[in-house]
């Protein structure tokens, strides 16, 4: 077993910074209205002398201009769950701990390589998503959690080395029950190594079974007792914008964030999305932009391009305050098969992406395919679809059809072939009785025209043999 721990020290701040990329001093505040205190701050605020734990009033005295946002625990939980969904692509065993995720990676070695390779991938993913993180790996999840809090990038790969790695960890950082953490240093026990060597009976008498349980979980003598993360079957994310947006172009940045988050989530779930909905929330009501794709997709660029195309055509009746992305159905994603000896140029776009691009600008119905039906009447002989029905007609059919037959003007055409009697459709109230001919007009065009049976004039043009 090898557990990786992703410690997320500034989850609340990163979540806020993702929404507003423009820098400037920013703090998160929490507490009762009268005594608001700073709970997180970015580098610029820190440089100005602000500190965590400071009163908001004291901070305002130090720095004239900074943004203060309320700390939102629900927001933090949502980001943590989102990252669990991202981590799910590396392991089916992902669990949430306070400010951290742990995942079992030893079974993923075959797919992703050894720990350094997985570590690099995790690090790239988290950096791309904009979350600061610390990584550690250890044979038990709790040990990984402790080591991530002590040092960045520490990896204990063999169970035999675990005790040695834990030896020097200060008791204060060992994430033990609070009573023990406070009392042990006063008793002269400063490191985990010292604590682990103490007689168990004495520890149980002094601190109860709780401390021994957490120590056993730490070294792996006791099951970790984690409740594993189960990815939800739908996506419903909402972000509030920091100011009112009146121009849909200004929504591009948050939408890009949301679609790339969606892509990361779908990759973790090995799923795709065929239809998702963007709610642009106004002060009253919301504009709903539905993004439908031809087939399940999960590429960040594809999703973003489809969303942007629809968004550009949306008129905003009122300023937008918040964005919400909903995807109810996440069907399995089947990657498109490619020929190993594909001769297409290297920058070639997949056909699906090209069709999405055309649909985004020209409308959802703009790209279509035609298929034959078994109905012989020309008006009903084809439909929009991809599956041909029926066999190839033995009679000549033109290459162009007219929407509806029109009278053929000019002198009488020369008959080249025919007639083909079409007498059908009596069962559905739209009967057809016509004699079709292939004719040549005076201008040299080949046409498909018909006469009522038995007549010699009144040519109706129905198609061209172009």
């Amino acid at each position: 077993m090898l557990w990786a721990c992703v410690l997320l020290p500034s989850l609340a701040l990163d979540g806020v910074l993702r929404r507003q990329p423009d820098s400037g001093p920013l703090v998160l505040v929490d507490g009762p209205v009268q005594t608001r205190t700073v709970v997180a701050l970015n580098a610029e605020a820190k440089a100005a002398g602000l500190r965590v734990g400071q009163r908001l009033t004291a901070a305002q005295a130090l720095l004239a201009q900074f943004a203060a946002m309320p700390y939102d625990q629900a927001d933090v939980d949502r980001w943590q769950t989102f990252l669990a969904g991202v981590a799910y692509r590396y392991s089916s065993e992902v669990a949430l701990l306070p400010h951290a995720l742990v995942l079992e990676v030893s079974r993923s070695h075959g797919l992703f390589g050894d720990w350094p390779a997985i570590e690099r991938r995790l690090r790239d993913d988290l950096t791309a998503l904009g979350f600061r993180h610390r990584l550690a790996a250890a044979p038990t999840p709790h040990a990984a959690y402790v080591l991530a809090g002590v040092a960045h990038g520490m990896a204990v790969l063999a169970p035999d080395h675990l005790r040695r790695a834990l030896d020097a960890v200060p008791v204060g950082k060992a994430r033990l029950p609070a009573a023990a953490t406070a009392a042990l240093p006063r008793m002269g026990v400063r490191t985990l190594g010292q604590l682990l060597r103490l007689p168990r009976d004495g520890l149980r008498r002094r601190f109860g079974a709780e401390l021994l349980d957490s120590l056993d979980q730490l070294v792996g003598d006791r099951p970790a007792g984690l409740s594993l993360y189960v990815p939800p079957d739908m996506v419903d994310w909402r972000i509030e914008l920091t100011h009112e947006v009146e121009n849909s172009a200004a929504l591009v940045f948050p939408v890009r964030r949301m679609t790339s988050d969606l892509a990361a989530y779908l990759a973790g779930r090995d799923g795709g999305v065929q239809r998702f909905v963007l709610h642009l929330e106004h002060r009253e009501g919301a504009t709903v932009v539905t993004i439908g794709l031809l087939s399940p997709e999960r590429g960040a660029a594809t999703l973003f391009e489809a969303a942007r195309g629809r968004l550009e055509q949306t008129r905003l009746p009122a300023p937008v305050l918040a964005l919400r992305l909903r995807a109810d159905d996440l069907p399995p994603f089947v990657p498109e098969g490619r020929d190993l000896f594909d001769e297409r140029p290297a920058n070639a776009l997949p056909l699906g992406q090209l069709r999405e691009r055309l649909r985004a600008r020209l409308g959802d119905e703009a790209v279509y395919q035609l298929a034959t039906t078994i109905d012989p009447r020309p008006e009903r002989s084809q439909r929009i679809g991809a599956q041909d029905e029926g066999d190839i007609d033995p009679w000549p059919r033109p290459s162009w059809l007219l929407e509806r037959p029109i009278p053929l003007r000019g002198p009488a055409p020369t008959v080249l072939a025919g007639p083909e009697r079409m007498e059908t459709g009596w069962w559905d109230g739209q009967p057809v009785r016509r004699d079709y001919y292939v004719v040549e007009t005076a201008e040299g065009q080949r046409a498909w025209a018909f006469l009522p049976p038995g007549e010699h004039a009144g040519w109706m043009l129905h198609g061209w043999f172009a």
Binding site: V367, I392, R397, L402, R446
Partner: protein, 207 residues
């Protein structure tokens, strides 16, 4: 002016140089019409380029000219895109001519978007051939299509009215269809060779 200068000296001094024909672009796209292939320097459609087809009026064989090529491409599972066709394509008629309709995609586009869509399709590299009927396309628009076709390694077929024949065009191949006195194809321009003086007969079959 009396001094006689040997031509070889001028050539050596690079003041005079020999013109050399540009290499003929290799063609791998037979038109399906042996008589036409025989007169074209590329022995078929110029690869990764736009071919312009000019016609006096609709229905004189413009599709008959390209459908054999499209049939060959779609049977090889290569997608073909048809943008803003002037009439409804007859699915059964196209099947009779050997096309596999599952590989043919039609695009409905307003007049202003036709050239944009054509350029996107040509440049994407996803399509083997793109057919387009622009109502108004100037020299620059065609050049954009030509560059896009070269980028995406696709065949572009641009169908226009015969009156645009007098305008110059960046397309490497320009064909004009004639209905009188008998159906024929005039090669008006072909890169890599001189256009033949005689038209290529283009006999119509019922199918």
């Amino acid at each position: 002016m009396g001094a006689v200068v040997a031509l070889s000296d001028l050539v050596d001094a690079r003041q005079v140089w020999r013109g050399r024909a540009a290499p003929i672009p290799a063609g791998d796209q037979p038109t399906g019409l042996a008589a036409l292939d025989a007169v074209l320097p590329t022995a078929g459609w110029p690869d990764a380029s736009v071919s312009e087809i000019l016609m006096p009026l609709d229905g004189v064989g413009e599709l008959r000219l390209v459908l054999p090529t499209l049939a060959r491409l779609t049977q090889g599972q290569r997608p073909v895109v048809v943008i803003a066709p002037p009439y409804v394509p007859c699915a059964m008629g196209w099947r009779q001519r050997g096309l596999r309709l599952s590989q043919v995609h039609f695009v409905m586009a307003a007049e202003a978007d036709v050239l944009w869509a054509a350029e996107q399709c040509l440049r994407s590299g996803a399509c083997a051939a793109v057919l387009v009927w622009p109502k108004q396309a100037d020299d620059r628009a065609l050049r954009r299509l030509q560059v896009a076709a070269a980028d995406g390694q696709a065949l572009g077929f641009v169908f226009r009215d015969r009156r645009y024949l007098v305008n110059s065009s960046p397309a490497p191949l320009r064909l004009e269809l004639a209905a009188h006195p008998s159906p024929a194809i005039w090669v008006r321009k072909c890169r890599g060779g001189n256009p033949p003086a005689q038209p290529v007969p283009f006999p119509a079959t019922v199918h």
